[in-house]
Amino acid sequence: MFNFILLILIYTAIFALMAIGQNLITGYVGLLSLTQAGFFAIGSYVTAILSVTYGWNFWLTVPMAALISSFFGLLIGLPTLRLKGDYLAIATLGFGEIVRNILNNWDSLTNGPMGIQRIPMISLFGIQISPYKKWGFLVLVWIFVLVAYFLFDRLAKSRLGRALEAIREDEIAASSMGINVTRYKVWAFILGAAVAGVAGSLQAEFILSVTPGAFTFMVSIMVLCMVVLGGMGNFKAVILGAFIIQFISYFPQLVGLSNVIPPQFKQILFGLILVVMMIWRPQGILGREKRSAPRRLFRSGGDV
């Protein structure tokens, strides 16, 4: 039971990383991307292939996972982000399917549907961080989440974040204020892809194997649900969302009812969350983070 809660918390962290990336894209720029699963898969496979086939150290594979994921982000972002947002949703949906398609078929690199097993465990200063000792792994993944949270939260409050929000509110107005709309969108997309790639690395190290079947469209939907449920445009909220969605996911096992409740049940629930939240509470549980009011130049102003 207690072990189970640790498991939920570890998955919360791995998914929270993806949700943080999704939040930058969907919550800040207002773009619908449906491909966190694709970048997650790429990150996982980069770590698996580099460490198993080429014997790299885990800590070197993480930046590679981020780099290669963001390269693919750039590849699909550049043609689609120049246009209206709707196309991105479709292109990313297709991209996720194609990544899985290629992982399944490129036997010489990915070992096809069998996947890659026996990924070496992480070691840090000679200490092995094994997924079997859940406490250690828990601390490791949450350190990643905290770092990502801090970086993205700072970033969102910087010039980049303000530009992204301006684009979401009114693209034409933003571009007439001199914001290079496409460039900022592509940056948000690349950063979101990179963090999902890192999440993939951690996932590979936690399961110690990768198979294409683990990266279905459902993963992207779960990440989207986390952002929508927690609150778009609020990094704390999406971490909360990640916890709630993971809790729902494992609830049947937690109470020992996994034989009674069909596996589709939680997926139907995820769909319902999206619809119901959009209709009744589009801002999510916590809502968008409020900006502290800008300091006024004068204590009191007259009518202008």
């Binding site: 120049r82 139907i268 769909g271």
Partner: protein
């Protein structure tokens, strides 16, 4: 078999496939034309329609193959169409209509939710195993100068052509069709002219969904039916709609047929491995977005403030 015969063989196969894509693309394009939004659940409405058609056919076809099974086939198709039309209208009413005035993102997210609900409900109720429709009539191919044409292909092409002509006449000539065009052009002005825009939107969803169900039933005949069939099929049909020019009915027809031909000839002549066939549509989307984002028959539109 000479190369000319081979060419016509692929042409025939491509046209059949393309016709099916075109029927689905019409639903996307009609909804986009009026509401400017991608109905992600369209592919899943197709899936539900083909299941309903399949169940109806199994229930009424009887044991022996004969004229009755052919009639039963069309009755089943009609049942699937009606059910999907109802479903499409219900979804619009429940999940999209409350979001008309919301941000652009809201209806998209809601549509993805609906799509996920439908495909998982289907998996839960009907199982994940794929099913196939029993043949309503003998399907041994007819040979025409080395080109083999199956009666199913003829049936599919006939249904596709009838549907397209009927739709084109309906939209171009009928009163409701005129109201649809007006709503798509300018919803507010259409309302001022006494057009009940909400009713027109509901009708649009009903027609699009019925066409999708028809396509789904034809897929059941040629390929198979399973709960997640709508995702890839829907995605490709959307690409077809974009290639033809989204919002344009003739464009969707043209785009669908082009995509069908491209997939067939891509595998047969260009030597693209069969496993990567699904990638063709995606590459086509990227290329058309780079070269001519408004699509082949679409008008370039400047976004206004």
């Amino acid at each position: 078999m000479g190369s000319i015969a081979e060419f016509f063989q692929h042409l025939m196969n491509g046209l059949t496939l393309g016709g099916i894509y075109a029927l689905i693309a019409l639903g996307y394009t009609m909804v986009y034309g009026i509401l400017k939004f991608i109905n992600f659940a369209h592919g899943d409405i197709l899936m539900v329609g083909s299941y309903i058609g399949l169940f109806t056919f199994d229930a009424i076809r009887g044991q022996t193959m004969g004229p009755w099974t052919v009639i039963a086939f069309f009755i089943a198709m009609l049942a699937g169409m009606l059910f999907s039309a109802g479903l499409g209208m219900a979804i619009e009413r429940i999940a999209y209509k409350p979001l008309r005035r919301a941000t652009r993102l809201a209806p998209l997210l809601s549509a993805i939710g609906v799509s996920f609900i439908l495909s998982n409900m289907a998996a839960w109720m009907w199982g994940t195993k794929s099913r196939k429709l029993d043949y309503p009539f003998d399907n041994s191919p007819i040979y025409l100068k080395g080109v083999s044409i199956t009666p199913h292909q003829i049936l599919i092409l006939a249904v596709v052509i009838v549907m397209m002509v009927a739709l084109k006449l309906f939209v171009d000539r009928s009163r409701i069709g005129k109201a649809m065009r007006a709503t798509s052009l300018d919803q507010d002005t259409a309302k001022l002219m006494g057009i009940k825009a909400d009713k027109i939107i509901a009708i649009t969803f009903a027609i699009g969904s019925a066409l999708a169900a028809t396509a789904g039933f034809l897929i059941a005949l040629e390929i198979k039916v399973y709960p997640s069939m709508g995702t890839m099929t829907g995605l490709k049909a959307f690409v077809a709609a974009v290639v033809g020019g989204i919002g344009n009915i003739s464009g969707a027809m043209l785009g669908g047929i082009l995509l069908g031909l491209l997939e067939t000839f891509g595998v047969a002549l260009l030597g693209i491995p069969y496993g990567l066939r699904d990638t063709i549509a995606f590459v086509a989307l990227i290329i058309i977005l780079l070269v001519k984002p408004e699509g082949l028959l679409g008008k370039a539109e400047k976004e206004k403030v």
